[in-house]
């Protein structure tokens, strides 16, 4: 009997299990021994500077990137060997929404719903609710090419949610969105995990991570250098009053670098004024 957690049927205790994951692109070491897991009912925030390996990690989980070594399991399935099973369990939003420009949102969602074999009644109910919530009416029948980045992001989000997957992989999901939609999505993610689903998302917005993440993994040079709840991270840095941004900069050794670079920039731009 498959255990049912909330509304989702989860086949294993962890929704994502990443163990000693490494990935090399030619001479570039993108990931080096990455290990973490995401449990049902969790929003796991992957935080890291540009080029730390966040997107590569997410792509390895969905099976778009084949690991050089190590293992990735989604509900116990390997994303490369069991790619179709894994992809049916995941809702994915890429950092830059790549959609079919000449299709309208309606055409695009029809295509996705057909591929995912969702019954018409369910999909229409979900799309009507999400379409209303995201104010899509004006933009539903125009080509995606003519939509703004934020609107494209909304379409990508709806496409990732229509099959009601237990696992959401969101790469910078809130970039380009207005405050209202951001808030709706944050609430939606909370509802999703309350019903037994899980979310893995990468973000640069510390405030968002601070407010909605159950656990945070700080990724730096392809490795998780710190992991835990916000309080656990604060304890690690030895200062309970620190914000996540301060913790992040301290753990990634970027505090001194930022200070040096700001000083140099100040000298370069405002030399005459400060002299």
């Amino acid at each position: 009997m498959v255990p049912k957690i909330g509304v989702f049927q989860i086949m294993s205790t962890s929704l994502i299990e990443v163990s000693e994951l490494t990935k090399k692109f030619g001479s570039v070491q993108a990931l080096s021994g990455l290990t973490f897991n995401v449990l049902p009912g969790e929003i796991y925030g992957l935080l890291g500077p540009n080029g730390a390996g966040k997107t590569t990690t997410i792509k390895a989980i969905i099976g778009l990137v084949e690991p050089t070594s190590g293992t990735v399991k989604v509900e116990g399935f390997d994303p490369i060997i069991n790619s179709i099973i894994v992809k049916s369990k995941i809702g994915y939003v890429a950092e830059k929404p790549i959609l079919y420009d000449s299709l309208s949102s309606r055409d695009f969602l029809e295509f996705i719903a057909s591929i995912r074999k969702i019954d018409q009644e369910t999909v229409n109910r979900v799309i009507t609710q999400l379409g209303d919530a995201f104010d899509m009416a004006k933009y539903f029948d125009v080509p995606i090419a003519t939509l703004s980045t934020g609107m494209k992001q909304k379409v990508a989000l709806i496409a990732s949610l229509i099959h009601q997957p237990p696992l959401l992989l969101l790469d910078e999901p809130l970039s380009g969105l207005d405050a209202k939609t951001s808030r709706i999505i944050k609430d939606l993610l909370l509802l999703h995990v309350q019903n037994g689903g899980a979310v893995l998302f990468s973000t640069h917005i510390m405030e968002v991570a601070e407010h909605i993440c159950t656990r945070i993994g700080i990724i730096y040079k392809g490795k998780i250098i710190a992991e835990g709840t916000l309080n656990q991270l604060k304890t690690k840095t030895g200062n309970q009053r620190q914000t996540l941004e301060e913790i992040f900069l301290k753990l990634t050794n970027e505090e001194t670098e930022i200070f040096d670079k700001t000083r140099l920039l100040g000298e370069a731009f405002f030399k005459n004024e400060t002299a």
Partner: protein, 514 residues
């Protein structure tokens, strides 16, 4: 593993070889333009090589008129392919942020506009001038031909630009209403008809030149005067009669006046092109209109059917691929036209007709894949196998081939056949077309791992493999027939070879499943 393969080597191709890829892309664009220009020059020359009979003046008139018509159509067609993306490009967004004066901005845009059609326009003009110099030896005729050729090309580019604007506006309008859907369909049909007209002109000058000559030769004074009113006849009549204008009398005068009016019109067209390019440079060329959706209902389908519908929608909205939908109509008309000239349908006629239809169709899978664009990145994240992509595109291309056996079958009802068994040739080739499509798509999807540009570079290789797949059964038929003079045996071998090819294609599809 195909899916996993997409991520492999991304840093290598995307970052380290950016410069190489850019150079390759430029090289491809130049080659592409050069090949089209050479083809256009050939199309301009062929009408002059058709046999002139009767009056040399009438022959020259027909050749000039047809050459101008062909280059007009071909330039317009090529320009439509390139200018549609030029019009909808977001380059203006980047350009306007630069500290450049608006007139300089227009110059940059104008330059890139000119570069997109330069080879083909220059090729047409130069070849036509040389031909007229060769046939008339008159400097005045050459001078007039220069003006006429330039005018012809300006009008062709103006028509293409107007058409591209309409296409882009039509695309951006969106909407689900019946009128919008009908408008889109109508546009595709017009598009297809244009292609069809040009293709007929290009393929059949040897039939058309004598027919034109015959019309001109037998026409009354009045109907010749009417012809003088229309481009390109006005140009043909004026230039051909330049050696002896008095003898032609009113006809030359009338056509010369008409020609001057056309030159004036092309002047306005040129100004309109400049104005439009200026609008493109500041991004105000296409005004968007949006319809508010009344509901969010969608219609789900079986996955394969959903994929086919998606492919059809994408390719019909892409200016560079939309005309492929005219292929079935084009095939039917060309084949009917060709076969109508034969009293008996011989096996050789059927072989050639089948091959021609098949080659047209084999362009379809590559066009469908190229129109996917960055969407290929998205479908990697969906729970669907490689075979679904291959089958969808194979189904569309095989369906576009269907008119070939149908037309041949209808023709066989009207005309006697050397052997009724030869009707199986196009039917068996249907299998070869399906196999060829599978091979082309499989190869494309394998090379796509090396980056989009490298995938495009190898388009020619894929087409060669597709055509070879088509040729093998036809060659097998010919060899066996020449050895045995038995249609039964030859058709049997053709069937066996086509089935074997399909077997290989199915084996490949099964391997993908593993």
């Amino acid at each position: 593993m195909w899916w996993g393969g997409f991520g492999r080597g991304r840093y290598d191709t995307d970052q380290q070889n950016d410069l190489d890829l850019t150079k390759k892309a430029l090289r491809i664009a130049k080659w592409d333009k050069l090949m089209v220009a050479i083809f256009n020059v050939l199309a301009a020359v062929i009408p002059f090589t058709a046999q002139f009979f009767g009056s040399p003046i009438i022959g020259l008139t027909s050749a000039i008129a047809l050459s101008l018509a062909v280059t007009f159509g071909f330039t317009a067609l090529y320009a439509i392919q390139t200018l549609s993306s030029f019009i909808s490009a977001d380059s203006s967004v980047l350009l306007v942020t630069l500290p450049i004066k608006p007139d300089k901005l227009s110059l940059v845009t104008l330059f890139s506009f000119v570069r997109s059609v330069d080879y083909i326009v220059v090729g047409s003009i130069v070849s036509q001038i040389f031909l007229v110099a060769f046939y008339t030896g008159s400097p005045i005729a050459v001078l007039i031909m220069l003006v006429v050729s330039i005018m012809n090309e300006i009008l062709a580019v103006a028509v293409a630009l107007w058409f591209s604007r309409v296409f882009t506006k039509n695309l951006f309008r969106g909407g689900r209403s019946r009128s919008n859907t009908l408008l889109r369909l109508l546009f595709i049909l017009i598009w297809g008809s244009l292609l069809m007209g040009v293709s007929l002109l290009i393929s059949l000058p040897f039939y058309i030149v004598p027919s034109l000559e015959s019309i001109l030769f037998n026409s009354s004074q009045f109907s010749t005067l009417i012809l003088c009113l229309f481009h390109p006849f006005s140009a043909g009549i004026t230039i051909a009669n330049i050696g002896n204008p008095i003898a032609a009398g009113f006809t030359t005068l009338f056509s010369a006046i008409s020609l001057i009016i056309y030159v004036g019109v092309s002047g306005f067209a040129g100004k309109w092109i400049l104005k439009t390019v200026k609008q493109i440079s500041v991004g105000t060329n296409v005004k968007l209109s949006r319809e508010t959706a009344k509901d969010f209902s969608i219609k789900t389908r079986k996955p394969l059917f959903g994929f086919v519908i998606k492919d059809l929608k994408i390719s019909s909205r892409n200016p560079a691929t939309a005309f492929f939908f005219a292929l079935p109509v084009l095939e039917t008309i060309i084949m009917s036209f060709l076969l109508a000239n034969f009293e008996v349908l011989r096996a050789s006629t059927l072989l050639v007709s089948t091959l021609m239809g098949g080659i047209f169709v084999l362009l379809m899978p590559l066009a469908l894949l190229n129109s996917e664009g960055s969407g290929l990145e998205y479908i990697k994240t969906l729970p669907l196998g490689l075979n679904q992509i291959i089958l969808s595109k194979t189904l569309i291309s095989t369906l576009t081939y269907l008119p070939v056996p149908i037309v041949l079958f209808v023709m066989a009802m009207l005309k006697p056949l050397t052997s009724p068994l030869t009707l199986f040739i196009p039917v068996f080739i249907l299998l070869a077309v399906a196999s060829a499509s599978v091979f082309e798509i499989q190869l494309f999807l394998n090379t796509v791992t090396k980056g989009k540009i490298s995938a495009l570079i190898h388009d020619l290789k894929k087409l060669v493999i597709g055509i070879t797949t088509l040729l093998i059964p036809l060659a097998a038929y010919s060899i066996i027939y020449l050895m045995s003079f038995s249609h039964v045996l030859a058709v049997l071998i053709l069937g066996v070879v086509s089935t074997l090819e399909l077997g290989v294609a199915i084996y490949l599809l099964r391997q993908n499943k593993k």
